[in-house]
Symmetry: C2
Subunit: 134 residues, 2 copies
């Protein structure tokens, strides 16, 4: 994947993931994610709308913008190839370190099971440099 | 609309809009937007993917998170009721003030025509307060 896109996934930037509802309309929500070995790994919980949506249609899109420079961004279309249990919060803890500089995921709930959406990027768009017109 | 959601649209927070591609897969991109008289107004340019998508299917979803507090967020599903020309950059200038504290939209291009997606919110979700578990 593009180096600039990879960098955006290693920082504290929220990732926005779009999925498709049962009626064919779009849905979007902010998530924590990172990039490892060719895949975008989104952490979410079982039973959420986006989980239900990808079980039915694994096609997703994600968008990330740099907190430091809004012109530094990528949007990606891809497919959820696998749903990986994160019941032990290993990935959630890793992302807590990335996003909050804390060791453990602080929003644990007894009724929640974390999972990872393993996304294979198909189309990666990186915004070319924009010139200011005035 | 929920007061908290309205506030999120009045600040410098980027808005992420999801649309549906011709093949039924989702698309998402960051945009500038504000909220006026019951509508979310997204500024984009003619011919962009999201413009083509809403001409075919006007259903969209948007997500906004506060720059200051990532737990302060809203996601909305709605429909583009109208496409409004912004060829004179009036709305683009207004959003430039909101997002950049500058008077005029600085990314003008001769080959670009700005338009406004006028979105009627149907479902508004505001994240309830989360408790930290440790």
């Amino acid at each position: 994947m593009d180096e600039k896109a990879v960098k955006l996934f290693s920082e504290k930037n929220l990732v926005y993931i779009a999925t498709v509802m049962k009626d064919g309309s779009p849905q979007v929500s902010p998530v924590w994610a990172n990039y490892e070995d060719g895949y975008v790994l989104v952490n979410t919980a079982e039973g959420r709308i986006k989980h239900k949506n990808v079980l039915r249609d694994p096609r997703v899109a994600v968008s990330v913008v740099s907190k430091n420079n809004p012109l530094d961004m990528t949007t990606i279309r891809g497919v959820v190839e696998e749903l990986i249990p994160d019941y032990d919060y290993k990935h959630a803890d890793k992302l807590t370190q990335q996003y909050m500089d804390r060791e453990h995921y602080p929003f644990k709930r007894d009724d929640e099971k974390r999972i990872i959406l393993k996304i294979k990027p198909n189309k990666v768009f990186v915004l070319p440099e924009l010139k200011m017109s005035d």
